[in-house]
Subunit: 83 residues, 2 copies
């Protein structure tokens, strides 16, 4: 079975996000002052071959922990869909 | 009304994604060879004040076009949720 994973990796809420803060500032400059609280992270799409949804979930979890996120500064979440 | 937008900005499928390609290679090095086709984009979370869902949608659309994505190289999609 082949699954597609859509993964979000975001800076932890407790941490400052300078990039998000800069973007929030830019919104005001282009007349979008009703937008605030911008936070910028990564979105990762990948495919995984696995015998079951449970196995695919475990592999994506492992990828998130080992490569895709830095758990000191970031949190991750993902959805899996069979393709 | 206050809405939270969750925005994905991804490199267009027609374009190479060197970062994604590097991550796909790294997966093999750490024993996750069942993972492939990695593509890396941005995930942006923001809040918008608007009188209606339609107005919020239009403001987020404008932000995506003007600041958050480069439409020559990237596509975007988002979801809105009242908070």
């Amino acid at each position: 079975m082949r699954f597609k994973a859509e993964i979000d990796v975001m800076p932890l809420d407790a941490l400052l996000d300078p990039q998000g803060k800069a973007v929030t500032g830019s919104m005001k400059n282009i007349g979008l002052e009703m937008i605030d609280g911008v936070r910028v992270g990564k979105h990762i799409r990948l495919f995984v071959e696995a015998a079951s949804r449970g196995e695919a979930d475990a592999k994506v979890e492992e990828a998130c922990k080992k490569i895709l996120s830095n758990q000191i500064m970031e949190s991750y979440s993902f959805t899996l869909e069979e393709v």
